[in-house]
Amino acid sequence: MAIDSSLLWWNFFLLGLATILPRSSFIVLGEKISLPASIKHALRFAPAASLAAIISPDIFLIHGHFQIGNPKIIAAICTAAIALRLRNPWLPFLIGMGVLQTLSHL
């Protein structure tokens, strides 16, 4: 289960670059350069689209198959409902994990 160590550090380094470059981009280039409005517009959707693409297989598929009533779907719905209504940073984790544990041990 251990990951090849030198490859891992190389990946960390590149991931670090993939983070600091967009973060520093305009701060370092200076305030005179700016993105075209249409690209700025399209980029606004990148965070929501990428989050959804990453989490939905985790939630909806079990061993690669869709299953209605899968405990993860119900736990995710509860988590989303809490996150939508309350700003408490802990509750989504407590409720989500609690629901998942309870349902998978029934």
């Binding site: 251990a2 990951i3 991931l15 983070t19 305030e31 700025k40 990428s50 989490i55 984790f93």
Partner: protein, 233 residues
């Protein structure tokens, strides 16, 4: 370091403090997820300081573990980090007059919370050292919280029974980030379309379906806003 730096720093710290509490569960979860994906203590610390980006870390850990190719891992992080291009462009005028080294350092520290809290005053305040304090002090506080609670997460993951699906903690963290975004209709469209596409494309090799799905989502959101929302406006 002069007086204005600390006056700005104090004000920035007070503005950011309540927001920063929200980082704690995040850092804990990221720490736990790193451990549950097989990173050693030292490797986890390394990732937390070198990458220092919760969302990108949580999203790439399963890819790192499954031995996905490096280009795919980096591309995934890059897409998730695209938002920082926008943040960077928006906050850049706040660094007018400062040198390149401070700019790189500030770029490394740029996080969602400080960006949202500190940008307005960074743009309007005259004094450079006040602005820098107002940004750097809360940013360092955020960095410190991230490292400390990341460590606690790494250490506590081992004492949690394996039957608990800790992976799901990462999913919860990402849901919590996603939900407030979807209050805007076109964002919700982008999220639904990319989520759907990602499930339908799950058979694509190297998790390429994820990247494709993100493209589908961005396009869907963009088109929805352009052509459907405009018509009703």
């Amino acid at each position: 370091m002069n007086n204005a730096f600390w006056t700005g720093g104090k004000e920035g710290f007070h503005a950011f403090l309540p927001v920063s509490i929200g980082l704690i569960p995040w850092a804990l979860v990221t720490g736990m997820t790193m451990t549950s994906n097989g990173l050693s203590f030292f490797q986890a610390l390394g990732m937390n300081t070198i990458v220092y980006a919760g969302t990108a870390q949580l999203a790439t850990l399963p890819l790192l573990k499954s031995g996905a190719p490096t280009w795919l891992i980096v591309l995934t992080a890059l897409v998730l980090n695209l938002r920082f291009l926008i943040f960077s462009a928006a906050i850049a005028p706040g660094f007018r007059g400062s040198n390149v080294l401070i700019r790189w350092f500030s770029g490394y520290l740029l996080g969602d919370g400080v960006f949202a809290t500190c940008t307005p005053k960074m743009l309007t305040e005259e004094k450079l050292s006040w602005r820098l304090g107002y940004y750097i002090v809360p940013s360092l506080w955020s960095w410190l919280l991230w490292q400390i609670f990341g460590c606690i997460g790494v250490l506590s993951a081992k004492s949690i029974p394996e039957t608990w699906s800790l992976d799901f903690m990462a999913t919860i963290a990402l849901i919590v980030l996603l939900i407030p975004m979807t209050k805007v209709k076109s964002m919700a469209v982008a999220a639904i379309m990319s989520g759907l596409a990602s499930i339908l494309l799950k058979e694509m090799p190297f998790k390429l379906g994820v990247i494709t799905a993100i493209g589908v989502g961005i396009l869907a959101g963009f088109l929805f806003e352009r052509f459907i929302e405009k018509e009703h406006a």
